[in-house]
């Protein structure tokens, strides 16, 4: 019971934090804005709660009363702030909104619902059959959670070089969150890591669907949802309880918020920075993401757009990233034993390793799905039939996000080339997960660049949301245009 309360409090904490510095403002559709904030709040809440727990743990103050007391206090203050400010009418969004003009959106929603329910049912069955998760879950992530939830100074064992085959320098977000739930509940159980894994999966899915809905409309969002649920390797890794899905969540959050920062009044860049920082606090690959996105965003912003507003946005991004940066520095330089990330530098001169990595990449790309329903086939169908149309306001964030993700993936490939372990083994055991980490962000970029389904159905100019909702005449004309197009 206390475990469930602690998870709920973490989500509430995240949701209310997001509400306090609203990243989406009054962008339509509202259901997508609420879903986006709820999804983002899930990951941010778990991240922030894990940081608070770790600080309590290393200072010897972690106890169920302290964990729940701090969470309840923070939630109460944030809820009070929310109720106080929500009575003020929000400033209307300056962004345009597209009408939900595709008349078959309901059919897409039906297909998405069916795919979601069937997939979730199977994932739950898999989690019940293997509640301890896959190899890394019990040799690394949940093992470290047990140390962190242990009495006295046992948290130090989570960073001990004596642990064979684990990575004592690995970031602690996932382990610390699971440990927090165990500590709050007063004991170790198998449910907490399973619920954590499913919460991140659900939040990832909701974040992608809601972000695409906010940027490109409901029909495109449902298509994005169908494509990500066709990524069978993503489904397979969900009950494994690895940190790759949480990492993919934070990558996607950062990328989506960079887009939303272009069209929404709010604090999207702050949350983008926070997501990038939390990515670095989730897995070592996240450090590469944090560095790449900061460098690309700051360089392009300061080089191309030297406006005051752009510099302020860059400042918000840096401010958001600072907790993750500080935690990562603390872990790498003070807590964990030193690790040399460049130990395999000499491998860089071996050309055959590059070929091996490239082959491994294409092989693992094929393993994202299976047969005719492979997600790449789905994307090809959409690309060929709907074609591309990047809105002017999304060109800049598209450049930043694409450059960052390409750099991140090149860093991954470089790390693989330099690995001191067997390259074959490394490619077999990790490359599919490295692809998965960037896959949801890639899908977001794809759907932002893809022509909106509603544009095809009703090729009319975007209409201000206030007009859309208040003028039946406009809705009538749009419906008429839709009917006329049926015969095209």
């Amino acid at each position: 019971m206390l475990e469930a309360i602690s998870i709920l409090l973490a989500w509430l904490l995240g949701f209310l934090l997001i509400q306090a510095l609203d990243p989406v403002g009054s962008i339509e559709p509202r259901w997508a804005a609420v879903l986006f904030k709820a999804a983002l709040g899930t990951g941010v809440g778990m991240g922030v709660a894990s940081i608070i727990f770790l600080l309590l743990d290393v200072t010897g103050a972690a106890s169920p009363a302290a964990i729940l007391g701090i969470d309840i206090g923070l939630v109460a203050v944030l809820a009070w702030h929310w109720f106080r400010t929500r009575s003020n009418p929000g400033a209307p969004s300056s962004s345009d909104v597209r009408a939900p003009g595709f008349r078959w959106t309901w059919l897409l929603a039906l297909a998405f619902g069916a795919v979601l329910v069937i997939s979730l049912a199977r994932l739950v069955q898999m989690a019940i059959a293997l509640p301890v998760g896959e190899w890394d879950a019990w040799t690394l992530w949940n093992l470290r959670a047990k140390f962190l939830a242990g009495p006295g100074d046992s948290w130090r064992y989570a960073l001990s070089p004596l642990l064979y085959g684990t990575h004592p320098d690995y970031p602690l977000l996932l382990s610390a969150f699971v440990a927090r739930v165990w500590e709050a509940g007063g004991g170790v159980n198998e449910i907490a890591p399973v619920v954590t894994a499913f919460a991140f999966f659900a939040a990832l899915l909701a974040l992608l669907v809601s972000a695409v809905a906010l940027l490109r409309g409901a029909a495109s969002a449902l298509l994005a949802g169908l494509v990500i649920l066709s990524t069978t390797s993503l489904l397979l890794w969900t009950p494994a309880q690895y940190a790759d899905i949480p990492l993919a969540f934070f990558y996607l959050g950062a990328v989506a918020l960079i887009f939303l920062g272009e069209s929404a009044r709010g604090h999207a860049q702050f949350w983008a920075g926070l997501c990038a920082g939390l990515a670095a606090w989730t897995k070592n690959e996240g450090v590469a993401f944090l560095i790449c996105i900061l460098i690309v965003f700051l360089t392009l912003t300061l080089w191309q757009r030297r406006t005051r507003a752009a510099i302020i946005r860059a400042g918000w991004l840096l401010a958001g990233a600072s907790p993750g940066v500080l935690l990562t520095l603390w872990l790498k330089f003070w807590l964990a034993p030193p690790v040399n990330p460049l130990s395999g530098l000499s491998h860089l001169y071996d050309a055959s390793r590059y070929v091996q990595v490239a082959e491994g990449f294409f092989k693992n790309l094929l393993n994202l799905g299976s047969g005719v329903s492979h997600p790449l086939i789905l994307l090809a169908i959409l690309g060929i039939l709907l074609r591309w149309k990047v809105e002017e306001r999304y060109k800049w964030p598209l450049l930043i996000s694409t450059t960052s993700l390409v750099l991140v993936f090149l860093t991954y490939c470089g790390e693989l080339v330099m690995t001191p372990w067997s390259l074959d083994w490394q490619l077999q055991t990790s490359l599919d997960r490295l692809i998965l980490q960037v896959w949801p962000s890639f899908l977001l970029l794809f759907f932002v660049a893809l022509r909106n389904v509603a544009d095809v159905a009703i090729p009319s100019a975007p209409v201000k949301n206030t007009v859309t909702r208040k003028s039946p005449a406009v809705s009538g004309k749009r419906a008429l245009a839709g009917r006329k197009l049926k015969g095209v």
Binding site: F102, W104, L107, L108, A111, F112, A114, V115, I118, S119, R122, M126, I128, A129, L130, P131, V132, W135, W138, T139, N142, L143, K146, F147, A149, G150, P151, G152, D153, S154, Y157, L162, L163, Y164, A219, L223, L226, V227, L229, S230, T232, L236, S370, G371, V372, S373, L378, I381, L382, L385, L386, R387, W388, V453, V456, A457, P459, G482, L485, V488
Partner: protein, 142 residues
């Protein structure tokens, strides 16, 4: 670039929806085995029960030594050691526990053998054999 027609949009959506449904059905049939009793191939779920009695005989935290009849270099050895570590955490289970001065050492065996002699050969005194390959030793030098 010519704008696609609404029938193209409908075709794209229908194809994606149908293929996604097909993908889900395929996923269900491909993962049938992962929902059965053989999903836990390393039998990690059974280790908590296997080590339960031994765990209650150990201090709640601290380092404990580890010995086994299967070397860590073998996959089975690594599974045995990591399974024991997970079951006994937050205690740190380590082969170097003996050298580090740990009072207790656990034995984790894959087959029946003379556990008393196995311990003596390594300077360990048998405290209790819990059965099922789980043994508790005390560091004999102490």
């Amino acid at each position: 670039m010519q704008q696609p027609s609404s029938s193209q949009a409908l075709a794209a959506c229908a194809a994606v929806a149908l293929l996604a449904l097909w993908s889900t059905v395929s996923f269900r049939s491909a993962t049938e085995e992962l929902t059965g009793p053989n999903a836990d191939v390393y039998k990690i779920g059974e280790q908590a029960a296997r080590f339960q009695e031994l765990a209650s005989a150990l201090p709640a935290t601290g380092m404990v030594g580890y010995v086994s009849d299967v070397p860590d270099s073998q996959t089975l050895g690594a599974i045995l050691r990591d399974g024991a570590q997970y079951a006994l955490a937050p205690r740190l289970v380590n082969e170097q526990g003996l050298k580090a001065g740990a009072e207790w050492t656990i034995g984790n065996f894959s087959k029946p053998l003379d556990v008393t002699q196995f311990g003596k050969d390594r300077g360990l005194t048998l405290v209790r054999d819990f059965g099922n390959g789980v043994v508790l030793y005390r560091n004999g030098a102490r």
